[in-house]
């Protein structure tokens, strides 16, 4: 029973006082930023990344950062249900039926079902992670440079296909990200590329500065353009317990949401947001009472909330087994590992089994903490919503600035956030999604490196990518995805699936 031994090791690692404490800090922070609209897990993790330099054990750092990500999925539903505002982008669809339930005086059951669904999904996803990560890592050991290059192409294409909006623009954003990733010293020749003799640029642009600028600051400016109006149902959260009838309707939705979320989470670019949208669409489609959706159908809360939590957790699978981040949040996790000199990839499981299994088990423990944090203590989080945005955003700016400075103890990285904030703002105005760019940025240098190695081995023969079966099949899937997405019938369906995501 290797799995049991591994899980035991995980429990021993995650169960230390330090790790339990930071797991709690992570999920509590995650809930906090999940509840607060206008700040997401990406900016928060970027902000806290420098703080993890101080931690002696990288496991502790990853446990905390992971907690922020899945914790935010819990917190986001609270705001969606009580205020009709998505606390997180993955809770957008929860506003549709969750808020209607609150208006009918059923905020309690809505919150409870969201938390129970999330917990169930989190538990299943943890087991999936534990069961499927080891065999996947085995496959990854067979990968050569050509396969890694092909895998990254597939990852980026999938991220584009699954992103919201125009495919062409998303592709261009990926390429822009790859190009920005080129800035800095070329490892093979030692040439400082595109650095304009700025010494700080010869190390490349800091990922954290890019993420903060494009997601943190640009988002703040966009939020400021809209005047706020909030109607909070605080006093009405009295009876938390759902009725038996609620359970009976919600449980199948939770099961389906968990399944959809787990699968979509593994796919590149998928993650929590796509999972919740797809789950809602499916629930509405197969429901016997589709007319109830939008008027307080409990399935519309149960499905998406389970799906986003499952997706958040299974998106760790490609990062932990292949070493390839498939969402911007995972890119930050990779950065956190690199800070501690751990090269992410299939070898992590064997070289750092404590980190690997400790992280997985911590997710289950974290989910348990989250149920307690979010159900009995829901009133406390709701009070936070009375903090107006005009007080909140300067604080977010400040924490981001402190975080950016602490990467290298240099104000250069603070200055670097400014051009990326402008870029992020302009791209948002032009309907270009910044997430694919960020993925390209992270993978840029790696992709170039694998391409070079593959071509050196093949002595300049490009056919190596199609003659090796693994590489060929990965590229074939990427090509099929691209063809499918440009088919007219799929194009309109895709637009439909993303409708309402604005």
């Amino acid at each position: 029973m290797e799995l049991l031994n591994n899980l035991a090791l995980g429990f021993a690692t995650a169960g230390t006082v330090d790790n339990l404490f930071y797991c709690f800090v992570g999920v509590a922070l995650g809930t906090l930023i999940g509840v607060l609209p206008g700040i997401g897990p990406l900016a928060t993790i970027a902000m806290l990344l420098p703080a993890t330099y101080k931690m002696t054990d990288p496991t502790t750092a990853l446990i905390m950062l992971a907690g922020i990500y899945y914790g935010a999925q819990y917190g986001g539903s609270t705001t969606a249900i009580l205020v009709n505002l998505p606390g997180e982008s993955s809770s957008v669809v929860t506003t549709l039926d969750g808020y209607q339930m609150a208006r009918q005086g059923r905020a309690g059951p809505a919150l409870a079902i969201a938390a129970i669904g999330s917990f169930f999904a989190g538990t299943v996803a943890t087991f999936l992670l534990a069961a499927f990560a080891p065999p996947l890592a085995e496959v990854a050991f067979k990968f050569g440079p050509a396969e890694y290059f092909a895998l990254m192409v597939l990852g980026l294409i999938a991220a584009v296909v699954l992103a919201n909006g125009s495919v062409l623009k998303a592709l261009a954003m990926v390429v822009l990200g790859l190009l920005l990733g080129m800035i800095g010293t070329d490892v093979n020749s030692g040439v400082a590329r595109f650095s304009f003799d700025v010494p700080e640029l010869s190390d490349g642009i800091e990922f954290v500065a890019v993420a903060m600028g494009m997601f943190g600051f640009a988002e703040i400016i966009l939020n400021l353009e809209q005047k706020e109006s909030r109607e909070v149902f605080t006093s009405k959260v009295t009876n938390l317990m759902p009725q038996w009838a609620d359970f009976k309707r919600a449980f199948p939705a939770i099961l389906r949401g968990t399944g959809i979320g787990s699968i979509l989470g593994i796919l590149p670019g998928g993650g929590a947001v796509l999972a919740s949208f797809s789950s809602y669409a499916i629930e509405k489609k197969i429901s016997k009472h589709p007319e109830e959706f939008g008027h307080g159908a409990i399935e519309g809360v149960a499905g998406p909330e389970s799906a986003n939590n499952a997706g958040a957790q299974t998106s760790f699978i490609p990062m932990l087994t292949l070493g390839i981040p498939t969402t911007p949040v995972m890119a930050l996790m990779v950065a956190a590992m690199m800070i501690h000199n751990i090269q992410p990839g299939p070898q992590v499981m064997t070289s750092n089994p404590k980190l690997f299994w400790g992280l997985i088990v911590s997710m289950w423990i974290g989910n348990l903490m989250l149920v307690i944090l979010n159900l009995p203590l829901v009133g406390m989080w709701v009070k936070l919503l009375s903090v107006p945005y005009r007080v909140m955003y300067p604080a977010i700016l400040l924490f981001c600035c402190i975080g950016a400075y602490s990467i290298n103890n240099n104000v250069f990285d603070v200055f670097m956030t400014i051009p990326f904030a402008i870029l992020g703002y302009v791209f948002k105005k032009l309907d270009c999604e910044p997430a694919p760019m960020l993925l390209g940025f992270v993978l840029g240098k790696l992709m170039e490196e694998y391409l070079r190695r593959a071509m050196t081995i093949s002595r300049g023969d490009w056919s190596v990518f199609v003659t090796r079966p693994l590489s060929a099949s990965l590229l074939a899937v990427a090509a099929i995805l691209l063809v499918i997405v440009f088919l007219p019938s799929i194009k309109s369906k895709r637009a439909e699936a993303f409708a309402g995501d604005d």
């Binding site: 190009l179 080129m182 600051f217 400016i221 400021l224 955003y393 600035c401 391409l451 002595r459």
Partner: protein, 154 residues
Amino acid sequence: MRIRNQRDFWAGVLFIVTGLIFMVLSRQYNVGTSAKMGPGFFPMALGGLMALLGLMVLIPSLLSKAEVLKVTKIETRMILLVLAAVAVYAFALPKLGFIVALFALIGISSMASHEFDLKTTVISSVVLLAFSWLVFVKGLELQFPFLPTFLTNN
């Protein structure tokens, strides 16, 4: 000619220009051969791909069947205030220290809001200062100049 889809048009322009800039800049680096790629190879290829994609975004935006989409108003004042706050913070931090930088950041950025009021801004600055000192200086032991250098003599 009327540009029907302005968002696609300007996105296309932006992609083409950036792609071309990267291609031109890549010319100063050795491109090499496919068996032995130089530092210029990958960026050159990507720059070309990007310009091509930009063209594919731009052209349909001019066609008569393109959806009419305007670029919504750009709030220059808000962008300037928020980003100026960040810049002033970065300028002030090394010499004038964190306390001064914090008040400047919160003060300037707060003015970007529709509902700025001085009292709230001062109170939240003080609260944030106390919080930052506790969490970042004492708790996480991050290193940054707290007081102005002329007060600490180093």
